[in-house]
């Protein structure tokens, strides 16, 4: 199992969609690496979480935007953005409007696209939480969001 697919193994958005995103070719009865979309999806999700982390803790880093619910807002913006993008990506494949049209042998619906959007949004939120835990101690104004940092120089 290649690295990027590891993050998408939980079968909550449909086995067929997993196959499709991993590059299933019905003619070859195998996965085609060139059609594997997980690396791109993972990178966009991961980098979006990194970007939101950097913006919240180190660029905006605002003393009036450092409470728990402000952190939640940042997380929600990230998750909603990722949800919209992920769902749109799958819907484009379903309608054939993308470079990776869905193989007719796979049964993928708009509900699958919705669930994948939710799945990827949760994944982005987990990334953001992870970075928030390990990387916020250097933030001047937001180091105690979402909860008090254990690293205290005062």
């Amino acid at each position: 199992m290649e690295f990027f697919s590891l993050f998408y193994q939980l079968n909550v958005y449909g086995q067929d969609l997993f196959y499709h995103l991993k590059g299933w070719d019905n003619g070859m009865q195998d996965f085609v690496a060139a059609n594997n979309q997980f690396p791109t999806i993972w990178l966009v999700t991961f980098l979006s979480a990194v970007a939101m982390f950097v913006v919240f803790y180190y660029i905006l880093n605002h003393p009036r935007f450092n409470k728990f619910w402000h952190w939640l807002i940042a997380l929600a913006v990230l998750a909603i953005g990722i949800f919209i993008w992920s769902r749109g990506l799958v819907l484009a494949d379903i309608t054939g409007a993308s470079m990776h049209p869905v193989d007719p042998s796979l049964n993928i619906s708009a509900d699958n696209a919705m669930m994948f959007g939710v799945y990827n949004a949760v994944l982005s939120a987990i990334f953001f939480l992870f970075f928030s835990v390990i990387g916020r101690f250097g933030s001047k104004n937001c180091k105690n969001a979402p909860w008090k940092s254990l690293i205290n120089r005062k």
Binding site: I59, N141, N144, R153, K154
Partner: protein, 480 residues
């Protein structure tokens, strides 16, 4: 550690000590570690004295919890203010002046006829019938008799017992009233000549400075009052002539500062008591600055003949009604501009932002400054002192001539509060570009300071974080 004993005589003495207390609280540098104020005022209920004593007492309470070792950068409240050792009060109490007339004090009824005749030549009937409970009501001839008891007072004895080699003395008085004009030469004479003092050998050789405040206010005409401002200038002339012979003439004082103002404020006419509550005036601020100047003058510059100094403002407009920082001389501006601005910023944050922010800001959470701290007696004392500081600034502003270095009630943009100083925009780091007003202050308070004493008390941490933040903020915003 050498101490600077500051004798504040009369109402001007008290008000000057109040100005000194406010400046020391804001961290204006004093070359002496300890200032020992002694207030000499027969008017025990004078409001000006009460306000000064309150401010100094509160100063001591706040300072008690602070530590000024080398690891700490804080200079707010750095200079110690304390009463004379073994004394619990800042006041030098005069004996037998309460509920007696000057006639009774002199015991004229026990005098023989020639003595009575002499007394009647020297003092008017009004003088003799004067009740001294509110002071000498502008009559230095009364003061020169009553204040002769300096050397026998408990406070003076405690002072002379504790005086050490290297300590200095400073005397604040006005020249146009009663208490100050008579008290200054008498006190100086006692200091230089009272051989019964325990440490007289140190005191007689000590460096002594004095500020003599020339007329800077009038009082409203009131035929029922003992104070008549039309006599201020004649009294001043007489006293100056006397000082010329007996103070500067014999070099008994090492440095003498003359301060006055041609633009006179007008106050309500009160003989004294709780109603004598004059607004703070920039002349008193300058008088307090002369104390700091004296403290910083090296011994060798004070040897020999009396050094005389005059203060002025650095402007071509001698009728200027409102003085701001840039009208001060460069030395004075450099001394007080930054500390007063820092202390006011702290005050404004505490008043306007602290209660809504301390639960969320890292500076408070990381220092363990929680509700318990902000409801503590220490914090209450600090707030009350800060309130007194704001009142003092407001009074300076309301007076004539007005000293208005700050638009202290400004809300936004907060940093336009220093009159005549342009607040620069902070472009880097980016998050400081986005933060405005009190949010920008929070951003500076939240700085991860180097060389931070993690084991310091909460009181120390609170003061330290505000000192460091406002210090950096004033540098970046105003280049102070």
């Amino acid at each position: 550690m050498a101490k600077l004993y500051v004798f504040g005589i009369g109402g001007t003495g008290s008000r000057t000590l109040r100005a000194l207390t406010m400046m020391l609280a804001s961290g204006v540098e004093c070359k002496f570690d300890t200032v020992v104020p002694v207030i000499i005022d027969p008017d025990a209920s004078a409001a000006d004295m009460s306000r000064t004593v309150d401010a100094m007492t509160r100063y001591m309470k706040v300072r008690k919890s602070l530590d000024f070792n080398s690891a700490n950068e804080n200079r707010f409240f750095k200079t110690e203010i304390c009463p004379i050792q073994d004394m619990s009060t800042f006041k030098l109490t005069l004996e037998n002046t309460e509920n007696v007339t000057f006639r009774d004090y002199m015991k004229t009824n026990q005098m023989d006829a020639p003595s009575k005749a002499l007394i009647n030549m020297l003092f008017s009937q009004a003088n003799l019938d004067s009740d001294m409970v509110v002071g000498f009501k502008g009559n230095p001839n009364i003061g020169s008799v009553v204040l002769n008891q300096f050397s026998t007072s408990d406070a003076y004895k405690a002072f002379s017992n504790n005086f050490e080699e290297g300590d200095r003395i400073f005397i604040i008085s006005s020249i146009f009233g009663g208490t100050g004009a008579s008290g200054f030469p008498l006190l100086l004479k006692t200091l230089r000549n009272d051989q019964t003092s325990q440490h007289w050998n140190y005191i007689k050789n000590a460096k002594i400075g004095a500020v003599t405040v020339l007329p800077y206010f009038n009082v409203e005409q009131d035929d029922n009052s003992g104070v008549d401002s039309s006599t201020f200038y004649s009294k001043t002339k007489s006293a100056l002539a006397y000082y010329d012979r007996n103070i500067t003439g014999n070099n008994s004082v090492n440095a003498l500062y003359y301060i006055g103002d041609s633009m006179l404020a007008t106050y309500k006419n009160h003989d004294g008591g709780s109603e004598q509550r004059n607004n703070a005036h920039m002349v008193e601020l300058y008088a307090a600055l002369s104390i700091l100047k004296f403290a910083s003058t090296p011994d060798n510059e004070l040897d020999g003949r009396t050094q005389t100094y005059e203060y002025g403002i650095d402007t071509n407009d001698e009728d200027i009604k409102q003085v701001i920082f840039k009208d001060l001389g460069p030395e004075t501006r450099q001394l007080i501009q930054k500390p007063l601005t820092m202390f006011l910023l702290m005050n404004k944050y505490m008043k306007s932002a602290l209660s809504s922010q301390y639960k969320y800001q890292p500076w408070a959470k990381d220092c363990g400054l929680d509700e318990n701290f902000f409801t503590s007696q220490y914090y209450a004392d600090l707030v009350k002192f800060q309130d007194a500081f704001r009142v003092w600034l407001q009074e300076l502003d309301d007076n004539k001539r007005s000293f208005k270095p700050f638009d202290e009630n400004r809300v936004i943009p907060l940093f336009d509060l220093v009159n005549g100083a342009k607040a620069h925009k902070i472009l880097w780091p980016l998050h400081d570009l986005f933060a405005k007003n009190y949010a920008l202050m929070d951003s500076f308070l939240n700085t991860n300071w180097p060389k931070w004493n993690k084991t310091a008390s909460k009181e120390q941490k609170f003061m330290e974080v505000f000192y460091r933040a406002t210090n950096k903020l004033t540098l970046k915003k105003y280049n102070f």
